[in-house]
Amino acid sequence: MSVPHALLALLTEGPKYGLQLREEFEAGTGEVWLLNVGQVYKTLGRLERDGLAESDDAGQDGPQKRYRITPHGADALAAWLRTPPDMTSPPRDELVMKVLVAARLPGTDAHEVIQSHRLYLLELMQQWTRLKEGEARDDLGLALVVDAELFRLDAVIRWLDAADARLRRAAAQPSRPGPVPAPVPQLRRLGARR
């Protein structure tokens, strides 16, 4: 979550006070992501230190200080927008871990584990869809955040379906001795170390 870059983006619209930045950030995300005011001022302090933003005067931090983006800040923001985040290492995912464990644990029905989590995710999606149908119809920021969450949950459900199918196929195949496994590719080991 790049709060510094989000604040820089708001500053491209013109000089703003800290509290104003907090309100606009929260409104821009449909009030789904909230910012602690202390964090806002800490982030602005770092932006100033790094030359990405500057303030009106050298007075005390607080609501009277107005901030603006510097040319260096504008370049940094443009570079951040163009640069994909590093997504090479899959995050440690509790649900993936649960399915892996359930598949190996004697006496555990992995399909039941998958089904119960699937139903929970569907119920969450129902709630987000109600929000999409209601408040998010007139709030673009909220609509974007709601869509992001729906697509994320949908992707998890699709993975659960795929995992369920894979486990069923594996259970249906007779066990047979396989070929000697090839050495683990170097890439995977590097990913694991990170």
Binding site: L119, R130, D161
Partner: protein, 240 residues
Amino acid sequence: MSVLQLRAVSKTYGQEPARVQALDGVDLSVQAGEMVAVMGPSGSGKSTLLTIAGSLEEPTSGDVLVCGMALAGMPEGRKARLRRRVIGYVFQDYNLLPGLTAAENAALPLELDGVAVPKARTAALEALEALGVADRAGRFPDQLSGGERQRVAIARAVVGDRRLLLADEPSGALDSVNADEVMRLLHEACQRGVAAVVVTHDAQLAAWADRVVVLRDGRVTGQTTRPPGPESLLVPEEIR
């Protein structure tokens, strides 16, 4: 009273050793104003459930009731009237008649039921208006976009105050924006009192429903319970 009730419905096809159990003891009840989504992998029995609910096929055992009327033993003429007056169908490939305009397609079920043409056309135009395609009333299906064709198909399914909507992958051939819009329109029809059963493999579309039922191997293996309102999602969590 439930608009649709399935009680211990089973359906088998063929004989041993090639016997297929398409449905196995399915219970399902849908109230007026409720949308139920049915999800499941291919071969789980979803489409069979829909054809049985729509009186297009008979179960091997169990009871099917539409608006309290048992379909078992119902004469074919009465079933046909039920299909024209009470039940609306929405298919993935629209099934609009190419030689009829949008208004004529939407009016067709009423006209087949003996309703006078002017009255049927008025009802059709009202249904098209509710679905936002009244300005396309005079166009033929090949002059409409996929999303418009599906809206006309939904208008045809709800025209004349139908009580039960059965939709089989109604958004299947559409892009995600149009697919979402179709589900919104179906949900709005439910808010006007229609009961709907929607078969879909897509979780985002199923999430429009009040309840999601999961089928596997012809059995109901789970369903969502009525979730709390969306306000529970917005208990604010500060970003650290």
